[in-house]
């Protein structure tokens, strides 16, 4: 991170009135992102924010960069077009659990597998907010809402598991209230080449308040936040007395003293195989107990944009016949006198 702060947060405020409900977690995320952008040594006009539809997707209107508030679920597709058209841009996708995982699930997984140069921030509040409180694809099974008065029958997605399953090259999770951790994740996502995916647990204080209480409550959070840090054993709790082991049945939470510190899994997000990261993602489904946050996976793979550029460069080097007349001549012509 540069210390040459030619921008302040105000440079990234668009002047549009921010219209989220008072107390919404989106305010915190907006502030984290604006502060992060101001900290970067990159021209403001090089950022593009593309969103879909939903509360989270109003985000681009409030950030003074280029942006598009697009169609429900389609932001990853539109952002892919932006990123492929100009590789010099930093393209951010702002989406939510409904936008990104329900109506737009297809575009999300394909962006992830292609490794397009995008930073995808998925605000997960486990509810449809803009339409006033229906269950979402990340709502817990059995959730009672206006469209599920007897409880939702849907088995929820775990966004981190989904992204890993799509072979995303960068997958992380953070929490809206933890601005320091959010900023750390933004920095790591920004530096990653390819598609970066960050699930941000975001509190909807109107329709799904305290969904993440277990991770944000003063009483509970210490016992439930499992910080994933590269090269370090995965331990948590007040005195790091708890830990995670990974075996053939996946990841399990153990008491460190029961297994010894050497048996605790050392976190390595750069493992080529996504298996261990996936196992870690299965520790919490909700969250309803100890939940890992941090970078699950970060591996290098050529980006779609770079591959596209190199194909075009190769083609140009091999074939210099680039007029329409050349095309027609190769196709075959005849002359009538």
């Amino acid at each position: 991170m540069t210390t040459d702060t030619r921008y302040t947060r105000a440079d990234f405020q668009s002047g549009q009135e921010v219209k989220w409900c008072p107390g919404c977690g989106d305010y915190t995320i907006l502030a984290s992102v604006q502060n992060f952008l101001a900290s970067l040594d990159i021209d403001r006009e090089k950022h593009v924010f593309i969103s879909g539809i939903g509360c989270a997707s109003r985000f681009p209107y409030y950030v003074n960069t280029y942006g598009m508030h697009s169609i429900h679920g389609r932001a990853p597709a539109i952002a892919t077009g932006v990123a492929l058209a100009d590789p010099d841009l930093t393209v951010w996708v702002i989406t939510g659990d409904g936008d990104g995982l329900s109506i737009g699930g297809n575009h999300l997984i394909h962006a992830l597998r292609r490794n397009v140069n995008l930073k995808i921030l998925l605000f997960n509040n486990q509810i449809y907010g803009l339409t006033k409180g229906q269950y979402s694809p990340t709502s817990e099974a059995g959730k009672r809402t206006k469209t599920s008065p007897m409880g939702s029958l849907d088995h929820p997605f775990n966004p981190v598991s989904l992204a890993l399953g799509a072979e995303a090259t960068f997958v992380a999770r953070t929490i809206d209230m933890d601005r320091e951790h959010t900023t750390e994740m933004l920095q790591a996502a920004y530096e990653h080449k390819g598609t970066s995916f960050i699930e941000i647990y975001q509190n909807c204080n109107v329709f799904n308040d305290k969904a993440f209480q277990i991770l944000t409550g003063r009483q509970e959070r210490e016992a439930n936040r499992i910080y994933l840090e590269a090269g370090k054993p995965i331990v948590f709790g007040k005195d790091n007395e708890m830990g995670v082991v990974v075996g053939i049945d996946g990841a399990q939470i153990v008491k460190v003293e029961d297994v010894g510190l050497d048996a605790i899994q050392i976190h390595d997000p750069a493992r080529p195989s996504p298996g261990v990261a996936f196992a870690l993602s299965r520790l919490a489904h909700g969250p309803s107990g100890p939940t890992p946050i941090g970078v699950f996976r970060q591996v290098e793979r050529a980006t779609y944009g770079d591959l596209m550029v190199s194909q075009i460069d190769d083609a140009k080097a091999r074939n210099k016949a680039t007029s329409i007349s050349d095309l027609v001549q190769q196709h075959g012509t005849w002359t009538v006198e």
């Binding site: 593009v48 280029y66 012509t333």
Partner: protein, 623 residues
């Protein structure tokens, strides 16, 4: 007969035109045989028009009616308009091919059948109770047969091709026989085979040997001792190439990007009959074009909209079902006022319909098939080669007016071929575009929704441009600032402004030229791919002593400015369409003209005589 074979070969009979249809199983290589015959006829200098017709299934059950694939080519020594109403010659590779095509063969026409395929099994599959080649049911035709499979096997014996692959070359046998019959040059065939299959490879050898065998079979068999000659057409001087609509469209898009100095970006998802546009442009990466095969139709237009926002000439190609999926994004493109071309290569619908067959039934969807008040310019090419010009026109309008444009081609244009007299590619009309680089408001403010006084277009400021940072989106925009606005008067004003922008394009497109007399008894109005058969139908009517005029639309929204005056001049107006009367409805609503429809929805183009007959019926009708 006996005496004839003893006499020297007769000189070829001169014909001014002939229509040949190759028909067989979808695995018999009929499209290839037809295309090769077309190319050698083009090289010979005939005018021509083609009509490939094939099933949606890649390999329907062998020998069945459902699996029949055909390719019709009309060659002539004069300037022709259509692929021909009826075939003079039918090559039937099996009973099913005969059965499903015989109704399109002219009485007295020639049927050339592969007798080896007329066994009991294949006759049963085609539903013949007895063998039509021998039971006298084809007495109205001139029937000739050849044991094509047996002779192909013999011919390719030394090629190195073995087993079942041997029979793959039988289309070349048929092609050889027809090439002999119509005095086609053989060199283009040999050259193509060597290039395609590799010089000296077993497959190349087998195909060439089978072709020679067919050619020589004609030359030496008494039954066939009659050939035809169609002299080169007296086409206007110039350099020509033979081109299909999809190819011309692809090249037109590439040319438009060059003229505008922009990168061409095509986001698309494979769908019949549009796929070959994506395939054609994908192989032109050396032009700097970017192609993206998306995960679905919605993503196809989505990536293109993203590329349009970022300053590329963005295109998405599809067919009817894909247009439905893309319609939400088209509305966003309209709301964000970004240039984007949607190519709809129409096919017969609704739903999956007849995916390989032609129809013009997406017109209403193109004009009105979006939520909200969402008018867009709509264009349609009139022939395969016109697709080049219409692609450039679509780009010109999209870029100049900052609007999405729909281009309506169809399956007939997509795959049909014709000779194209090449324009001067160094002298194509330039497309002037300007990206905004400076603030356009007071105190260094940038107004993304300030409008050009003449065109109504908003500025195109692309991401990366310093000082012009702005947000666009689907919510209603405040005039000038582009900020979100729920103001009722603003919404009404912006709705009107978007409509006025599209309507204003009428001032920027050429007036229609009427073919025929101002005081003709009837005006025939057509659009899209029916141009050739409608013009031929009008010509026939006039030759028969009737008085008909014709006007053809390439711009369907907005209409050319003089269309209303033209319609008002005629008492009777006929609109032939490959739908149930969609253009008719629009014309009647807009101009209160008493237009009537000639409708056809059989998955096939009009025949010229169908148009003629309707003209005559209307003119003979005393009412």
């Amino acid at each position: 007969m006996q005496e004839e074979t003893l006499s020297p070969p007769k000189p070829p009979e001169k014909r001014d035109r002939v229509v040949i249809r190759f028909a067989g199983d979808s695995g018999d290589g009929m499209q290839l045989a037809g295309t090769r015959f077309t190319e050698s006829s083009a090289a010979f200098g005939n005018d021509l028009a083609t009509f490939p017709d094939y099933p949606a299934e890649i390999r329907a059950p062998q020998g069945t009616l459902a699996g029949v694939s055909s390719f019709q080519v009309h060659i002539a020594d004069w300037d022709i308009l259509t692929h021909g109403d009826e075939a003079d010659v039918l090559v039937a590779m099996n009973p099913a091919a005969l059965k499903s095509n015989i109704r399109d063969v002219v009485a007295g026409g020639l049927i050339l059948a592969n007798e080896d395929a007329f066994d009991q099994r294949n006759l049963d599959k085609a539903g013949y109770e007895s063998n039509p080649l021998t039971d006298g049911s084809l007495s109205n035709y001139h029937v000739m047969t050849a044991p094509m499979e047996k002779l192909t096997k013999l011919a390719v014996a030394d090629s190195g091709v073995k087993g079942r692959s041997v029979l793959r070359s039988k289309n070349f046998f048929a092609l050889g026989l027809i090439s002999w019959m119509f005095n086609r040059p053989t060199e283009p065939i040999y050259e193509w085979v060597q290039k395609k299959f590799g010089e000296g490879t077993p497959v190349a050898e087998a195909n060439i040997e089978a072709f020679r065998a067919g050619f020589n079979f004609g030359n030496t068999t008494e039954e066939f001792h009659h050939t035809y000659e169609i002299l080169p057409a007296k086409l206007p001087a110039g350099t020509y190439t033979n081109i299909t609509g999809n190819q011309a469209l692809a090249w037109g898009l590439v040319a438009a990007a060059k003229s505008a100095g922009l990168t061409l970006f095509l986001g698309s998802y494979p769908i019949t009959p549009a796929t070959s546009i994506l395939e054609e442009i994908a192989r032109l990466k050396h032009f700097g074009v970017k192609t993206f095969q998306a995960e679905d139709e919605i993503a196809g237009v989505g990536v293109s909209l993203g590329a349009a926002f970022t300053g590329h000439l963005a295109v998405t190609t599809t067919s009817g079902p894909g247009v439905a999926l893309k319609s939400e994004t088209m509305s966003l493109a309209l709301m964000t006022e970004l240039p984007l071309i949607l190519v709809d290569v129409q096919r017969a619908g609704p739903s999956t319909g007849l995916p390989t067959k032609v129809e013009q039934s997406d017109l209403m969807m193109a004009l009105y098939g979006r939520h909200g008040e969402a008018p867009l310019p709509v264009l349609a090419p009139s022939s395969p080669s016109d697709a080049f010009a219409i692609a450039m026109e679509a780009a010109r309008i999209a870029l100049k007016y900052m609007t999405p444009v729909i281009l309506l081609s169809d399956g007939y244009l997509a795959n049909g071929a014709e000779p194209w007299r090449l324009p001067d590619f160094d002298d194509l009309p330039p497309i002037d575009i300007e990206h905004a680089t400076e603030p356009n408001g007071p105190n260094g403010v940038f107004y993304p929704y300030a409008r050009d006084e003449v065109t109504g277009a908003r500025p195109w400021a692309i991401p990366g441009t310093p000082g012009l940072e702005h947000r666009v989106g689907g919510l209603e925009k405040e005039a000038l600032t582009g900020n979100v606005s729920y103001d009722p008067d603003n919404h009404e004003m912006m709705t009107a402004a978007r409509a006025a922008k599209v309507d204003g394009i009428a001032n920027d497109i050429p007036d229609l030229e009427v073919f025929g007399a101002d005081d003709a008894d009837i005006l025939v109005v057509s659009w899209g791919s029916t141009y050739g058969s409608v013009r031929a139908g009008v010509n026939n009517a006039n030759k028969a002593g009737y008085s008909a005029a014709h006007v053809h639309l390439r711009h369907l929204n907005p209409f050319p400015k003089n269309l209303g005056d033209i319609l008002a001049r005629y008492d009777k107006v006929l609109v032939p369409e490959l739908n149930l009367g969609q253009l008719t409805a629009v014309l009647r609503a807009k101009y209160l003209t008493p237009a009537v429809t000639l409708s056809k929805v059989q998955g096939a183009p009009f025949m010229a005589n169908e148009v003629t007959k309707k003209i005559v019926d209307l003119l003979e009708d005393p009412s």
